[in-house]
Structures are given as structure tokens and as C-alpha cells.
């Protein structure tokens, strides 16, 4: 059954149908009065279910009058001879009205269910469409078209907020006019606005929700679907926009990690290419010394090559740090293990000094890249050894300070003047008077970068012993 395009047609139709039924029934004289009544009720039911309430009521009244006039004696008058028939006629009227009402109601419900089914179907298609689009630009463009179909409206616009919270039209039906003030209100306050449209149907401004926030505004003009349907569409659009944002983030993350991996591979290759010839030359000199005995020249060459190797190592460290290829791989390690590792790796530099180590508290731990922090602390040890006289004491200690762990290396050298303590962390900066001490001026800069990369601070201060204090502060790991 199809909904008639024009509703008033139901009234003349009901008159015709009831009239025709009565004429037809008149032809069959042998029918009893009660059969006629039942057949007339059936007609009322049909009229009500096809043309709904108004025509249904009209059919009920006409059928009652017709029943009285044509079938109840005395015929062709509206008078009723038998008082029992008055009651029968009354029952007939009430039944006709009730049947008409009920069948109209069920018809209406059926239509509602049909409409909801159509809405659900379009929502499903819409969400499938959104899921299929994986590129933001095309997603929004196509979404406007899909929404126009799903919402049965004339025009659709999608406005999305940028990073600064400004709304921008990202897609719209060409030539569409919309009220910026209502869109702004919907975005800022989250209030939707709906009013009758000059295009027919409704104009509606709906916030596009993302969780508790709003991504932008959906505008639909000449909307025929329900507001509920429009809200559901806005919700779907929000999910699609959010999904697109996450896909973008995932892509960006994948690209960064690929480029970082490439950088670190290239740098490893570069380091290898720089170090290999030096290592080969160093080995050749050692072999030569073994065969022909060491000379002043061979020792000089060997020493210079060792220095060159160290420079290359430091320069590569700096390049790696600058290019972001030095990624910390943090794990929980005890502070005692870090001190032990630093002393094992850089202890040789301390051969001319006496070492005083305060045993670190056993349960103190930090969450860092072990190699990187070892390296940073090692630079502190090397610096202390370089800038304090041979035979003096270098003190290493670990202490807890609030939320931090402090690694200290203090020496008995001349210390660093307070005015220079920031400058020495700059690259290639060496203090006046230290020209005789070997070094590139990169060690402290590298150490600071490594410490900061691991969430800590590095500073220089005064040691109680009078020399320099090298202090690394790292957030303490939970016990």
C-alpha cells in the first residue's frame, strides 16, 4: 500500500466506496441485516486503513446512516420502528468508529517502523561509507554527498574546527547559503538549532561530537528526515573524523620511525667508514712496532691515531644527538649498577687518581637508557680526571633528593668559576688555561644532551673538597 500523495482524496474516496458497497448490498436481497452490518464494518475498516483517520470516521458515519436508511425498517427513512434496532445501530456506530480508529493507528505505526528502518539502513550505509574512506580530504568531500542522501535534504555543509578553534567550511553543496552565527553557536555551546526552511522541511545546525568535545558543525537545509536521524548522522560523522585523525597520527608515527631508522643506519655506516681506516692504520703501526721495534715516530703516530679515533667518536655522538637518531631505550636499573658500569668503562682514565666511592643505596633505581647514562657519567669521570692533579682524590656518590636521584662526581682540582658554568656545556668551548689538557670541548655538551634525553638535568657546582662538582639529577623510579 502506497501513501497517497494528496491526503484530502481520502474523503470523496470513502464516500464513493461506502456508497458503492451499499448499492451492491442492495442487489442481494436475501442477505440478513446482520450480514449487511458486518460487510459494512469491513468497508469502514478498509477505508480507515487505506486513507487513515479522517476518511475512516467519515466512512463510519456514512455507513451508519446508510445502514439505517437502506436496511433497517421502515426502509428509506431515518426513523427506526423497532426500539431494539436503535441499540443495534448505536453498537454499529461505535464498532465502526473503533475499527476505523484502530486500523488507522496500526497503519500509522507501520509507516513509522518503515521510516525508522529506512533511517537505520541509511545510517548503516553511511557508516560503511565512512569506514571505506581512509583519506581525510576525500572523506569529508564524499561525506557531504552521502549525508545529503541519507538525510533526504537539499543542501549539506560540513564545518570543522582547525587547531586554533576557528570553524572552516570543509565541504558543502555548491552555492549553499548558511548562517555563520548559528553554526558558531552550535560549535561553541553545543546547542543545535532547527527552524522551518524556505526550501521546505527544516534547516538544522548540529554540533559534530567527538567524545565530550566538538569537532565542528553539520548544517542541513531542507531536511525531510527527523532531527533524531540528523543527530545520529552528526555522531557518525564525528566518529569518522576522529578515526581519520588517528589514522593520520599513525601514518605520521610510522613515517617518523622509518626516517629515524634510516638516519641511524646511515650514521652507523658513516661511523664505520670513518673509523675503519683509522683502526686499520692503528693496527698496522702496532704490527710494525712488533716487527721492527717502537720508535718515537711510531709512538707519535699511534697516539695521534688514538686521539683521532676519540674525536671521530665524539663527533659521531654529536651528529647522532642532533639528528634525533639517539633514541633512549629506557629500562629500570639500579643506581649502583650505573656507577659500577661507568667505573668499569671509564675507570682507566682515573688510573692516576685515587678513587673514593660511597656505596650507593641498594634500593635506589632509575628508569633510563643504561648505556646513555653510563656514558654521561663517564664524561664526568673523565673531566674530573683531566682537570684535577694526579694523585688527588675523585669522589663518586649517589644520593636521594626528593623525587630525584643525584649522581655526584667531585674532584680536588681548580673547579669551574660560577660565571663559566653554563658556557662549558656549549660545544667546543674550553676554558682558558686548559689548553694543555687533551680534549675537544664536546664531552660536557654530549653528556648534557644524553642526560636531558633521559629526563634529567646536568649541572656543575662547587665540590665540598674545593674542586668541581659534576651533578646528574634523574627522576627516581618507583620502588
Amino acid at each position: 500500500m502506497k501513501l497517497p500523495a494528496v491526503r484530502w482524496i481520502g474523503y470523496p474516496a470513502a464516500v464513493l466506496v461506502v456508497g458503492a458497497t451499499i448499492a451492491l448490498l442492495k442487489l442481494f436481497r436475501q442477505l440478513t441485516v446482520s450480514s449487511v452490518a458486518l460487510l459494512l464494518l469491513l468497508t469502514v475498516f478498509l477505508c480507515a486503513s487505506v486513507w487513515q483517520s479522517g476518511p475512516g470516521v467519515l466512512a463510519a458515519v456514512l455507513a451508519t446512516l446508510g445502514f439505517n436508511f437502506f436496511f433497517l425498517p421502515p426502509l428509506y427513512t431515518f426513523t427506526i420502528a423497532d426500539p431494539r434496532n436503535v441499540a443495534a445501530l448505536f453498537v454499529f456506530l461505535v464498532s465502526a468508529l473503533l475499527i476505523g480508529r484502530l486500523s488507522a493507528l496500526s497503519r500509522h505505526r507501520l509507516e513509522l517502523i518503515g521510516a525508522e528502518r529506512r533511517d537505520l539502513l541509511s545510517l548503516t550505509q553511511l557508516s560503511q561509507g565512512f569506514l571505506a574512506d581512509t583519506n581525510r580530504e576525500s572523506l569529508i568531500g564524499v561525506a557531504a554527498d552521502r549525508l545529503r542522501q541519507a538525510l533526504q535534504c537539499r543542501e549539506v555543509a560540513i564545518l570543522l574546527a582547525d587547531d586554533t578553534g576557528e570553524l572552516a567550511r570543509r565541504a558543502e553543496t555548491p552555492g549553499m547559503v548558511l548562517r555563520e552565527d548559528l553554526a558558531d553557536l552550535a560549535y561553541r555551546q553545543g546547542n543545535s538549532a532547527a527552524y522551518p526552511s524556505e526550501l521546505g522541511g527544516t534547516d538544522i545546525y548540529l554540533p559534530i561530537p567527538i567524545g565530550l568535545q566538538r569537532a565542528g558543525v553539520l548544517v542541513a537545509r531542507g531536511l525531510l528526515s527527523s532531527e533524531r536521524m540528523a543527530e545520529a548522522c552528526a555522531l557518525l560523522l564525528g566518529l569518522a573524523v576522529e578515526r581519520e585523525r588517528f589514522l593520520g597520527l599513525a601514518r605520521a608515527a610510522a613515517e617518523t620511525s622509518t626516517s629515524e631508522q634510516m638516519k641511524s643506519t646511515l650514521l652507523a655506516q658513516l661511523a664505520h667508514d670513518l673509523k675503519t681506516p683509522v683502526a686499520a692504520a692503528r693496527g698496522a703501526i702496532e704490527n710494525w712496532e712488533k716487527e721492527s721495534g717502537a720508535s718515537e715516530g711510531s709512538r707519535l703516530a699511534g697516539g695521534q691515531l688514538d686521539a683521532l679515533t676519540r674525536r671521530i667518536g665524539e663527533l659521531m655522538d654529536v651528529v647522532r644527538l642532533d639528528s634525533g637518531a639517539t633514541r633512549p631505550r629506557p629500562e629500570r636499573v639500579s643506581c649502583a649498577a650505573i656507577v659500577e658500569a661507568a667505573l668499569a668503562r671509564f675507570g682507566d682514565a682515573l688510573a692516576q687518581h685515587s678513587l673514593f666511592l660511597e656505596p650507593p643505596p641498594t634500593d635506589l633505581a632509575v628508569e633510563v637508557d643504561p648505556s646513555q647514562l653510563t656514558e654521561a657519567l663517564g664524561h664526568g669521570l673523565e673531566n674530573a680526571a683531566r682537570y684535577s692533579p694526579a694523585g688527588s682524590t675523585i669522589r663518586v656518590s649517589v644520593a636521594e633528593d626528593g623525587k630525584n636521584v643525584l649522581f655526584h662526581v667531585s674532584d680536588e682540582g681548580g673547579g669551574v668559576p660560577a660565571s663559566e658554568r653554563d658556557r662549558v656545556f656549549e660545544r667546543f668551548v674550553r676554558l682558558p688555561g686548559s689548553e694543555r689538557v687533551p680534549g675537544s670541548g664536546l664531552g660536557l655538551a654530549i653528556a648534557r644532551s644524553l642526560v636531558e634525553l633521559n629526563g634529567g638535568r646536568l649541572r656543575l657546582g662547587d665540590a665540598p673538597s674545593g674542586g668541581a662538582l659534576f651533578e646528574i639529577a634523574i627522576p627516581r623510579a618507583a620502588r
Partner: protein, 227 residues
């Protein structure tokens, strides 16, 4: 005379290492990558394999794994600085030792010598050991330092005798735990470090700068009787 297989893709390094090993009196066969090394290895018998870590075709780690399937021959790997995870993988895969680039030739030759000697003396008297001013008799559970008896806890004694099994070799934390406790479950690197520390206090002259019981940072420990 020992036969050494040397794999490195750098011709200059190959030449230098080969010269040094030949001067030590070894016969050296070279290979330009892991694949060639594996082919040479399958052709004849070697007493030691020295291999670079990063090589085309077949890398050092894969070469170690392949060789370990075939033979218990000692393997020495040339590694790079700060790649502790790589070193642990190597050792767990069966490499016996590594030297870190840039290495001195003297250091490399000394490590090679230690590995060859260990392979030789595997049938000697593992129960007794003497170095520096220390004498250990495992059977009698006696440890003397400068002639005076030293009391070790059972764990310390276990760590000591484990390390003595392979003088000069690196033990990863996991390998030591498995050997000493019989399991790595419930034992942390810190537990090991604490026992190691007290062993050093009893046997080293300066426990903060150990001579015999060295720390290999973030890898494990090494017993080196020749400082």
C-alpha cells in the same frame, strides 16, 4: 700451530689482523663475509674463528649460530661500542668473547691467545687454579689470598668456580645466573651484582677497581687472570 678462520668485509682490517695472528705463529684463512666463512669452515678444521659483527650476506650473529650448530670451536667477535644488547645476543648465541672497536691489535691477540689456550687446557685440572696472590682448590673448597684462607659464602664460591671454568671469557648475567642458581627466575642483575661485590671485597686489592673480576658494562662479568 693453530688454524684461525678470519671473517671481515674490510680488506685493510683483514690484512692487519691476519698479519698479527700470523706473527703469533697461527695459520690464517680469510673470508670476505659470513657466507664465505661458513663455506671455509665446513671444508676444514679450525681452532678459532674471529669474525666481524656487521658483514654483507651473512652477519656475525648468524655466523655464530650456524657454527654453533656444527662445532664447539671458540669464536671471537669484533663488535662496536654501546651495542650491549647485541653483545648479549652474541654471547647467548654461543660466541665466546668479543673485542670492542676500536680495539688494539695487542688486545685482540691476547683474547685470541686466551681462547686458544682454554680450548687446549679443557682436559687439565679444572679443580685447581692459581693467579696473582690467589689459590683456589675447588675439591677442597679452599680459597687462599696471600696465603691466608678466605671464607666465601656458597653463592660466592659457586660464582667463583663458574668464572674459573672459562678464564678470560665473558659470562652474561643470564648465563651466570643459570649456572649459579640453576635458574634465571627470581634472580635479578642486582642480586648478582651484590654477590659479585662481596666476592670482590674478599679477593680484590681494590674492589672499586677490580683487577680479576671485571664488569662488562650491561653485559656481564669476566674473569681475567692476566691483567
Amino acid at each position: 700451530m693453530s688454524r684461525v678462520l678470519l671473517a671481515d668485509d674490510e680488506p685493510a682490517i683483514r690484512k692487519v689482523v691476519r698479519d698479527a695472528l700470523e706473527r703469533e705463529g697461527h695459520e690464517v684463512v680469510t673470508a670476505v663475509d659470513g657466507q664465505e666463512a661458513l663455506e671455509r669452515f665446513e671444508e676444514s678444521r679450525f681452532d678459532l674463528v674471529v669474525t666481524d659483527l656487521a658483514m654483507p650476506r651473512l652477519g656475525g650473529l648468524e655466523l655464530v649460530q650456524e657454527i654453533r650448530r656444527l662445532s664447539p670451536v671458540p669464536v671471537l667477535v669484533l663488535t662496536v661500542r654501546n651495542e650491549e644488547r647485541e653483545k648479549v645476543h652474541l654471547l647467548d648465541a654461543g660466541a665466546d668473547d668479543y673485542v670492542t672497536k676500536p680495539f688494539g691489535i695487542a688486545e685482540l691477540v691476547a683474547r685470541a691467545r686466551a681462547l686458544l689456550r682454554r680450548a687446549d687446557s679443557a682436559q687439565g685440572h679444572p679443580g685447581e687454579a692459581r693467579w696473582g696472590d690467589i689459590a683456589v682448590d675447588s675439591a677442597a673448597r679452599s680459597v687462599l689470598k696471600a696465603g691466608k684462607p678466605v671464607h666465601l659464602t656458597p653463592i660466592e664460591f659457586q660464582i667463583l668456580t663458574t668464572l674459573l671454568k672459562k678464564p678470560g671469557a665473558v659470562w652474561t648475567h643470564r648465563q651466570l645466573m643459570a649456572e649459579v642458581w640453576g635458574t634465571t627466575a627470581g634472580v635479578t642483575n642486582d642480586t648478582l651484582r651484590v654477590h659479585m661485590g662481596s666476592l670482590r671485597r674478599k679477593l680484590e686489592d681494590d674492589p672499586n677497581r677490580p683487577r680479576w673480576f671485571r664488569t662488562e658494562p650491561w653485559v656481564g662479568y669476566r674473569f681475567s687472570p692476566e691483567p
